[in-house]
Amino acid sequence: MDATGTKGSLKDLQRIVGEEHAREATAEDAVGGLTPFFVAEPGSLEETSELMKLASSEGLSVAPRGGGTKMHLGNPPRELDLIVSTARLNEVIEHAPGDQVVRVQAGIKLETLQERLADSNQMLGIDPPEEGATIGGIIAANSSGPRRLRYGTIRDLIIGITVVLADGTVAKAGGKVVKNVAGYDLSKLFTGSLGTLGLIATANFRLHPKPEAARTVVVELSSTEEAGEATQAIIHSQVVASALELHWSEEAKLLAVLIEGIGPSVEAQAETASFLFKPFGETRILSDEEADFLGPLRPFDAPGAENEVTIKLAAPPAELTGVLDSVLEACARRGVTPHAAGHAGTGVTYVALFEGGEDAWVRIIEELREVWTRRGGSLVLLKAPLSIKKRIDTWGLAGDYLGLTRRVKEKFDPRGVLNPGRFLGGI
């Protein structure tokens, strides 16, 4: 269709959301090289539902968008006509500090929410590195950060959800109590669904008290064996770590453990962690300034990441040495420089590839995917130029659950309105 065609027009969108909240898209709105026709920003649940009804009946393909930090994730869409942005759905609906629960509209930015919660000495226990990510986007992309070691991922924190399906149906699941088993847990189903099942409109979370004190202990490593052993030493100890982060590049090879809690306890545990790290290399407790730079809270921002390739390797945490060896070896054979960082305690390793050229990168990715899928893990392409995405699927082969995954998609979005082609198995 074209922007003035019969399948829908800007005027129809503006009738729903108001003239100033729907516009023609620009190249900046492109997803995977495809520029949509329109961008609409609904201001309410009702408007969102009306938009989806319109899109469904007019046959428009829709991509939901939050902060836009993850629009590069996934395969290039097969079609894209309309972006529905949650930018105006950015309110805290209810924060009950005594209940340690918050209800928000999906378009609120994580930073904004955390600031609000900090007033009550509380926090949402999630810390993905992207700046400007919204809550809805974090759920849809299943983004996580270093503190997942302690607090889990967004699936472990979400307690309720409201979604707008492709046909405009508004449905909720869960509630605003932390303990609740009434009905199916659609909050979890929508976690990581990348906008392919429906648009996430509101979400409820359990909160945690904000820790009073923090210490980061770092050990300098010289071999991949030490990385694996040092990780095991911490996770089997009684140190309650918030994060255990690995940095592995030419410049720095280190493992950092973040300990949070009340002052005296943090001090004591930092001592224990230093003791556990000592056999593996030079160990020190970081100052706060250093921790910002070197510690686990440093976002994964490998230099040049804009144009390069970043992959996410998930494997059993005890295989860390094997993961690193396989990456280093696959890269060395092809003259590629890797830069790895990851959540060592939970088995997530990010690898950015530099130099060596596209053919080499593709072969490395294929090789690592083959090895780690066979060993029960997965490899997802996080960031790559379009030319690479055309050669390698973002998600890899899903296991035996692909058929079931397809059936779920067919039930929730039978016409394939939402994000067609971006997800697993071409969903």
Partner: protein, 475 residues
């Protein structure tokens, strides 16, 4: 079935079938056509294949301790009992995982890894009997889930026989973040309506450095509730924080003699974690209890005393038999800050109905277990008790809560679902059901008051088995 299982794996004698007519909730009974006891995943798959091909409804059952009728058989169907699949298949300490068959009893997992300094965190009161498969189906909680999460936070992977007899492995298992929808998250807590888990990967947790437990007595539940708010308000996340009211204390005292003080309410608070943190926060907890006029504070000096505190708490349901012929266990949730007003409403309702209600609950997460006491022999009392239990749930919903915190909807509460969810909500949830079980043969008739048929009728038209049984209508 006898060709799939050996003869002793198939029960068809009416007298023997009778032992399976209900689960832990005895208000609902149904005698299944057949009970089968498979010993392997392959056998489960073969049984389900027969059911799928013949359109026979089936229900899976673990240890049968469920309290919402989730494992209530379907009269025209087959009951698949998984208690013979009770092998612990793998212990993987480096990855902090244990792989089990569904019939493995909850407690065995902790026992298996105790020597390595690990345990399995979800601890429903039934843990010495209830199975991991049943825990998974119900997303079981327990007294320690305030800090450590529920079953859903500890199940990392499952091999599932779907209702069409295909087998899928969902969740990463040992590796995190399997790409795709969180099918495992949707499956856990689906009350046996989406398939049968035949192999389950669990996360185990390192035993904490320190554990401290105290018991505090208060004049009434309001003061005890004040202490709960104070503890949480201080930024403390206790491993457990449990409350019992005076009627409950009386019953427990009569049953297991834990030597609890006479009081209007008792709190049991347990803290665990790093030594220094626990010591500091334990002091604060004692202070908060004192500030809220605790008449007595007892500190567990050793494991034996801690075990005694918990014995009293975990025996609460069973102890009701000491003070009442019959009782009805309710399970509902309110936001923690609504506990006081909800308890007040419950006591008003109790007076209105002229029936006693004992309260024991997970105070930290607002999960109430009011026990409605009645006499089954007394004219009209069972009906009154059920109505009172229903009104208690509605009171919880009015306070922003949920129909159930850990026992499930099952057969018992499906009639209440429309009080919490709209038709759109329930129809959307059932889209998931249609993706997993389009012919609705897997534990049909549970959770939803009006099952949604999926509009899929392969082959020549025949009446849907669920429709035939009068369990669903087409709309």
């Amino acid at each position: 079935m006898q060709s799939i299982l050996r003869a002793e794996g198939v029960i068809s004698e009416r007298e023997q079938l009778r032992s399976y007519e209900c689960d832990g909730l005895m208000n609902y009974r149904a005698i299944p056509e057949l009970v089968v006891l498979p010993e392997s995943a392959e056998q489960v798959q073969q049984i389900v294949k027969v059911c799928y091909d013949e359109g026979i409804p089936f229900v899976a059952r673990g240890s049968g301790t469920g309290l919402s009728g989730g494992a209530l058989p379907v009269e025209s169907g087959i009951l698949i009992v998984l208690s013979r699949m009770r092998r612990i298949l793998e212990v993987d300490i480096p990855n902090q995982r244990v792989v089990v068959e569904p019939g493995v009893v909850n407690m065995w997992v902790s026992q298996e890894v105790a020597d390595e300094g690990y345990y399995y965190a979800p601890d429903p009161a039934s843990q010495i009997v209830s199975s991991i498969g049943g825990n998974l189906a119900e997303n079981s909680g327990g007294v320690h889930c305030l800090k450590y999460g529920f079953t859903t936070n500890h199940v990392m992977g499952a091999e599932v026989v779907l209702p069409d007899a295909s087998v899928v492995n969902i969740g990463g298992g040992k590796a995190p973040d399997a790409p795709g929808y969180d099918l495992l998250g949707a499956f856990v807590g689906s009350e046996g309506t989406l398939g049968i888990a035949t192999k389950i990967t669990l996360r185990i947790v390192r035993m904490p450095e320190a554990v401290r437990t105290l018991l505090a007595a208060f004049r009434d539940t309001e003061e005890a509730g004040g202490a709960v708010s104070g503890i949480i308000g201080n930024g403390i996340v206790p491993a457990a924080i449990e409350m019992m009211d005076t009627l409950c204390i009386e019953a427990v005292e009569a049953a297991v003699h834990p030597g609890f003080p006479e009081a209007g309410a008792i709190l049991i608070v347990e803290l665990d974690g790093p030594e220094a943190e626990v010591a500091n926060q334990f002091e604060q907890t004692i202070k908060v209890c004192e500030e809220n006029n605790a008449s007595e504070i007892r500190i567990a000096e050793d494991d034996a005393q801690r075990a005694l505190f918990w014995k009293g708490r975990k025996a609460a349901f069973a102890a009701m038999g000491r003070i009442s012929n019959d009782y009805y266990v309710q399970d509902s949730v309110v936001p923690r800050t609504e506990l006081g007003s909800t308890l007040k409403r419950i006591s008003e309702l109790s007076e209105e109905y002229g029936l006693r209600v004992a309260n024991v609950f997970h105070a930290g997460d607002g999960n109430l277990h009011p026990l409605v006491l009645y006499n089954n022999e007394a004219e009209g009392e069972p009906e009154r008790a059920e109505k009172l239990a229903g009104d208690i749930v509605f009171a919880c919903l009015d306070h922003g809560g949920s129909l159930t915190g850990e026992h499930g909807i099952g057969e018992d509460k499906k009639k209440y679902m429309p009080k919490m969810f709209t038709d759109e909500d329930m129809n959307t949830m059932q889209l998931l059901r249609c993706a997993f079980d389009p012919h609705q043969i897997c534990n049909p008739g549970k959770i939803f008051p009006t099952p949604r048929l999926c509009g899929e009728r392969p082959g020549p038209f025949r009446m849907h088995p669920v429709q035939e049984a009068g369990l669903a209508e087409l709309f």
